[in-house]
């Protein structure tokens, strides 16, 4: 299996499903989401066949690679997309309510197909080693996400979220392209793997031009990863976007952004002077992201906004790992953190979607008395919040432990202390949800229905959190 075939298979699957949707008369479009998920499961199985990367001297080798990071994150993205697609049937009533259509089910089907193209774009992005490839795959994912965030055309919240996402996304595109142009101008190459050679022979005078380009790219990547200084779009867009897309944004597109950031920073380590400066910058960004994400989350009353700030906070912990890239254990720690992050964040969004479907809103007060209305959903949210906060025997705890360990080994004592303080703040705001579920009285006593797909998703994601939390060795061994 050549590693390019996986992405091509995903794109072909998307095109075939678009044709199926166009020629089918069925008004219930749920089958498209299931077909897409089944197809992606097939691609996921293919990814376990023995892989050969692009041949060393072939033209593809200049653009993509097949190393341990890309192999892990390609599977990670496929799983995140499968979970997102399986969330979509539960979202059908909202889609139908906010989509103007002359015939039943019109315009609903594409909502389950477009994530496939985002997935292909992000998969290329995590394998890309050339700025041209990174730029094109990033834009394939981002432009498709503009459409998905704005999908509820008659819902003003979704439209506003989409407009803000569009403007800030296009702004970050401008930054990344201008940054690429300066890095190309100084080094004469667009290839990330060729950067170390190019910058190690640079004259002192062109260092500032290079730093300018690097700063531009870091700003643009902080948009993708949801880190300081470009994190302010997150709460609004997360609140307004359709729930499955919010969960996809917070997991898949953040992961791809971090992979590009890691590859970029690793290539710049060749110049010790530069590496020290960059490390200080990343440490500062990690600290500011941690502070912003955790302390701004405390007063939130909307669950989707709360999870948005929480995703900024997790970007802060991940940046702690990125600031410690000199350690060999940093990349396994970041990969493990992402695996746990996928399970716990998506579990929270699956429960949130089921609750807001039944109660008609995303506020934390809608969770009041959930333990009486649906002990199953309340238990799932309990597990997810425990893992997000970092309670022992969950994936979130081991993930934070590994990140703190590499940060300590690299001498980031201040950052680790700040991390401990923000973890305590995290306990407080995740506890707000638990208090609503277990201590508040429900406004009505009717049970909340849970569909079979949702139940299986919750069971699998919950099992993932517990297995990773109790038995982390196999995944860590695979990442080393």
């Amino acid at each position: 299996m050549n590693s390019l075939f996986l992405e091509i298979a995903v794109v072909l699957l998307g095109i075939v499903l678009l044709l199926v949707e166009a020629f089918s008369d069925r008004s219930n479009k749920d089958y498209l989401a299931y077909l897409g998920a089944a197809g992606l499961t097939g691609v996921l199985a293919l990814s376990f066949l023995p892989q050969i990367g692009p041949l060393p001297m072939s033209s593809a080798a200049a653009f993509i690679t097949s190393d341990i990071i890309s192999v892990f994150f390609v599977r990670f993205l496929l799983i995140a997309t499968i979970v997102t697609l399986l969330m979509i049937p539960g979202y059908r009533t909202v889609l139908v309510r906010y989509l103007p259509s002359e015939r039943a089910g019109g315009g609903v089907g594409e909502f389950a197909i477009l994530p496939l193209f985002v997935c292909a774009g992000l998969m290329w992005m995590v394998s890309a080693i050339d700025f041209i490839m990174i730029f094109v795959s990033l834009e394939l994912a981002t432009i498709t996400l503009y459409v998905l965030v704005t999908y509820l055309r008659q819902n003003t919240a979704s439209l506003e979220a989409g407009t803000k996402f569009l403007i800030l996304g296009a702004l970050s595109t401008g930054f990344i392209v201008y940054g690429i142009s300066w890095i190309f101008g100084v080094t004469g190459t667009t290839n990330i793997l060729a950067l170390p050679d190019a910058i190690s022979t640079l004259p002192e005078s062109s260092l500032y031009a290079l730093l300018f380009g690097i700063a531009m790219i870091l700003v643009a990547l902080s948009f993708k990863t949801g880190a300081f200084p470009f994190q302010f779009w997150i709460p609004d867009v997360y609140q307004g976007a359709p729930t499955p897309i919010t969960s996809y944004l917070s997991v898949a597109s953040k992961a791809a952004g971090f992979v590009v950031l890691i590859r970029f920073l690793l290539s710049l380590e060749a110049l010790p002077l530069l590496a020290n400066k960059l490390n200080a910058v990343i440490t500062l960004l990690a600290a500011l992201t941690l502070i912003f994400g955790n302390f701004a989350a405390i007063p939130q009353t909307n669950m989707k906004r709360l999870l948005g700030y929480s995703s900024v906070a997790h970007a802060g912990y991940l940046l702690m790992g990125v600031a410690s890239l000199a350690s060999l254990m940093a990349i396994p720690a970041i990969g493990f953190y992402f695996a746990g992050y996928l399970a716990m964040t998506m579990l929270a969004f699956v429960v949130l979607q089921a609750v807001s479907e039944a109660t008609g809103g995303d506020e934390i007060s809608r969770f009041n008395g959930l333990s009486k209305r649906s002990p199953f959903l309340a238990g799932a949210m309990l597990l997810s919040a425990a893992s997000l906060a970092g309670i022992p025997f969950t994936a979130g705890f081991i993930g934070k432990l590994l990140i703190f360990e590499v940060a300590l080994k690299q001498g980031h004592y201040g950052l680790v202390m700040l991390g401990c303080v923000t973890v305590a703040a995290g306990f407080y705001y995740y506890f707000k949800v638990l208090r609503a579920m277990y201590w508040q009285q429900p406004s009505e006593e009717t049970a909340i229905p849970v569909s079979a797909t949702t139940k299986w998703l919750i069971l699998l994601l919950g099992a993932g959190i517990l297995i990773l939390g109790v038995y982390p060795e196999p995944l860590l061994a695979a990442l080393r």
Binding site: F135, I143, T173, Y178, S181, T189, T190
Partner: protein, 105 residues
């Protein structure tokens, strides 16, 4: 004969103008024009770097290829972006950023 520095100053001015428009203007359509200006500033500097940055006597065409990609991506972005702005206008009868206050900041 203009030098590399001339082109870079022009592209820097274009980029700053675009960024200024994005930061200061309140109409989403005008902001979108500012964003396009920023992309074209990057195109100009890429072509200039490619033309003047001679590696062993040959021009490096990678950057010029990237320019073509940027032009086509910008076109796709405009297609999607204007569609979003039109549906926003249909729903809210406005394209001013101050009126986008449904989601609290």
């Amino acid at each position: 004969m203009p030098t590399l520095a001339n082109y870079l100053i022009a592209s820097g001015l274009l980029f700053a103008a675009g960024l200024g428009v994005v930061m200061l203007r309140r109409s989403i359509i005008v902001i979108f024009m500012g964003l396009e200006l920023m992309l074209n500033a990057a195109n100009l500097s890429l072509v200039a770097f490619s033309r003047y940055g001679l590696v062993s006597g040959h021009q490096n065409y990678n950057a010029q290829i990237l320019v073509f990609f940027i032009i086509s991506v910008a076109a796709a972005e405009v297609a999607v972006g204007l569609a979003i702005i039109v549906s926003l206008y249909r729903a809210r009868q406005t394209t001013h950023v101050e009126d986008l206050d449904t989601l609290k900041f």
